[in-house]
Symmetry: C2
Subunit: 206 residues, 2 copies
């Protein structure tokens, strides 16, 4: 199968479980490659450099921006987050569907540069459920949880910029729905150039 | 399930087998309703008024245009073809995905009025295969086949206006791919207004 890869952006409020959905896609289907972001924030316990993120200093991050080595970046709660360009483009050429798990700011930047990118927003069933998932993590203070809920309220204003909204109620169903959306994106005209050109030339008797 | 219906436009060159794909969708899934077009052309043997088409006179057709009773119409080879509005809107409200099997001119009109409509173009594997399917029908003269091939060459210029291109090589696969595309369309933000509003209000503490 020599089809071209699709660039997939997955966003959602902190606590929606988008990481679990992404993991589900990567575990079940070989067609996916996860883009590893670069960040200046401190690693959390258990996070591995080069797997969870590329953890770099502020100076290194700014040097990468200057060298045009990021396809998008954003500042969020005093830290930089960005997507290194080289890996994404290599994987797309190799036919992989590349998943970016990024914030709204970055997602909107991506759509400008890659209009074919598929922007998917993972939604919680309700605000109450979102709060209860954040509390259930047990890793964040009440203050941080309030911050995240406030942030979610702000982010909610941008949901309509996404191409697709998926409800993460039952994780398994959410993974399958997300996969189906990405499969459908492979039939966009921009991904079917070869077929279109072949038939068109044949019809013109060339 | 109270989800809102999606308006689906299916087009393709004469002889591509789009009618078979549409029939496959209708036979396999209860969610679909087929819009019956109105036309001034003569019925072919076996065609039933109100099922294949609503067969009307030129005067009746023009009266329907005047009464704003069509969501699109076009003239094609000296005949009018159009889509009666009332049935489509009723079925969408009832939650059905309404399929319009129409020509490119009509499809582009639909997209202007219903930007959420999903435009699907059914492609033959090649121009040779298209010709052989037209010849295989055994119902058309060599002259008509040439006309249809020439028409296909013209229509091929508009393929990129469609949202999705599906290859009709193995019919069964084509039906399933088309169905998956329509399912994915249900996750567009315009079809998820209820969920978005509910979560948004919850986040704002309303």
């Amino acid at each position: 199968m020599s089809r071209e890869g699709v660039l997939v952006v997955i966003s959602g409020f902190a606590g929606t479980g988008k990481g679990t959905v992404v993991k589900g896609l990567l575990d079940r289907y070989e067609q996916y490659a996860l883009s590893v972001s670069m960040t200046t924030r401190q690693p959390r316990p258990g996070e591995v450099n080069g797997v969870s993120y590329f953890f770099v200093s502020k100076e290194e991050f700014e040097a990468t921006i200057a060298a045009d080595g990021l396809i998008e970046y954003a500042r969020y709660v005093d830290n930089y987050y960005g997507t290194p360009k080289a890996y994404v483009e290599e994987q797309l050429k190799a036919g992989k569907d590349v998943i970016l798990e990024i914030e709204i700011q970055g997602a909107l930047q991506i759509k400008k540069i890659y209009p074919d990118a598929v922007l998917i927003f993972v939604m919680p069933p309700s605000a109450e459920e979102l709060r209860s998932r954040l509390e259930g993590r047990g890793t964040e203070t009440a203050e941080v949880i309030e911050k995240r809920m406030k942030r979610a309220a702000e982010e909610a204003g941008f949901i309509e910029s996404y191409d697709h909204i998926v409800l993460n109620d039952v994780v398994d169903q959410c993974v399958e729905q997300t996969h189906a959306i990405i499969e459908a994106a492979h039939s966009a005209p921009s991904k079917q150039k070869e077929l279109i050109e072949r038939v068109r030339k044949g019809l013109q008797g060339k």
